[in-house]
C-alpha cells in the first residue's frame, strides 16, 4: 500500500511534472475563419498564446508562408 502510494507520487512527479518543464506553448485555436468578407477589407486577427511551462517562452520568428 505504502509502496503503491509512493509509486503514484513518483509517477505523478516525473510524468506530469516533466510535462510543464521548460518553455511550453499553447495556442487557443490555430485557425481562424473570417467567413465572408468584402474585397478590399484588411483582415486582422490576434491569436492568444499561453506559456504553460516554467521557463520563458520565446517567439523567435513569425513568417508568412
Amino acid at each position: 500500500m505504502i509502496m503503491g502510494l509512493f509509486f503514484v507520487a513518483l509517477w505523478g512527479d516525473t510524468v506530469l511534472g516533466q510535462d510543464n518543464k521548460g518553455p511550453r506553448i499553447s495556442v487557443e485555436g490555430r485557425e481562424f475563419d473570417f467567413k465572408e468578407v468584402e474585397e478590399g477589407t484588411v483582415l486582422e486577427h490576434t491569436f492568444k498564446i499561453l506559456n504553460i511551462g516554467d521557463e520563458p517562452l520565446k517567439i523567435i520568428s513569425v513568417r508568412p508562408g
Binding site: 521548460g22 481562424f32 473570417f34 486582422e44
Partner: protein, 208 residues
C-alpha cells in the same frame, strides 16, 4: 504582416497578430504563418487565417496566356459574373492587341454573365503582351483589366556547330554522374582496434 510578443513569461499570455489585405483577391483565401518558438516540443507552429472574399464582379482570370503550337490556333475564354443583385453592363474601353488577337464578348445570361473569348489570328508569329479594359456600370468595380500574354514566335532550334576536332567533355547528368562521385575499393586491413577482423569482403567507400 505580423506583430507578436517576442517573449512570454511562465504562466503568462502573449499575442500574435496577423494582418491580411484582401485587395485583388476573390473567392477562397487562405494565408498561413509559421511561428518558430523555443518550446522543444513545438518548435514550429502554423497559424491559419481563412476567408471567402466577396467581389462585386467575379472574373475567372485576370491573366490570359495563349501559346501557339505549329499552325494550330489558340483560344481562351474568361467568365465574368455579376455577384451583386443588379444588372451588369460591359463596354470595351481599350484593347492594345488589335492586329495580333481577336476577342468576342458573348452574353451567357443577360446583364448577369458574360464570356470573353480570345482567339489567335493565323499568320501572327510573334510574342506579345497587351491588355483588354472593360468599363462596367458598377460603381463598386468601374473597370476590369485583363492582361494577355501571347507566345506565337516559333522556337529556334540551334544548328549543331561544326566539329573543331577537339571533343569537349560535357558533364554527365543522371545516374552515371552519381556513379562517378565515388568508387568502391577493397580493404586489405581495417583499423578497428580489434584483431581478427581482416576480411576480403570488406570494402572502403571512397569519395572522388
Amino acid at each position: 504582416m505580423a506583430n507578436f510578443d517576442p517573449a512570454v513569461p511562465p504562466g503568462g499570455e502573449g499575442k500574435i497578430t496577423l494582418k491580411i489585405k484582401t485587395k485583388g483577391y476573390q473567392g477562397n483565401l487562405r494565408k498561413s504563418a509559421r511561428i518558430k518558438t523555443n518550446d522543444p516540443e513545438k518548435r514550429n507552429i502554423i497559424l491559419v487565417i481563412k476567408a471567402t472574399v466577396k467581389v462585386p464582379i467575379y472574373v475567372s482570370s485576370k491573366y490570359v496566356h495563349l501559346y501557339g503550337k505549329g499552325d494550330k490556333g489558340a483560344h481562351k475564354t474568361i467568365k465574368i459574373l455579376a455577384e451583386l443583385d443588379k444588372p451588369l453592363n460591359l463596354s470595351v474601353t481599350d484593347f492594345t492587341l488589335k492586329n495580333k488577337l481577336k476577342y468576342a464578348i458573348e452574353t451567357v445570361q443577360k446583364e448577369k454573365e458574360y464570356r470573353v473569348r480570345f482567339t489567335s489570328i493565323s499568320g501572327v508569329k510573334e510574342n506579345f503582351r497587351g491588355i483588354l479594359k472593360l468599363k462596367t456600370n458598377y460603381p463598386e468595380k468601374p473597370e476590369i483589366s485583363i492582361v494577355i500574354n501571347g507566345r506565337f514566335k516559333p522556337a529556334k532550334i540551334p544548328s549543331r556547330p561544326p566539329s573543331s576536332g577537339i571533343k569537349k567533355e560535357t558533364p554527365v547528368r543522371g545516374a552515371n554522374a552519381v556513379k562517378r562521385l565515388f568508387t568502391f575499393l577493397p580493404v586489405t586491413s581495417v583499423s578497428t582496434g580489434k584483431k581478427g577482423l581482416k576480411s576480403p569482403r570488406q570494402w572502403k567507400f571512397v569519395l572522388s
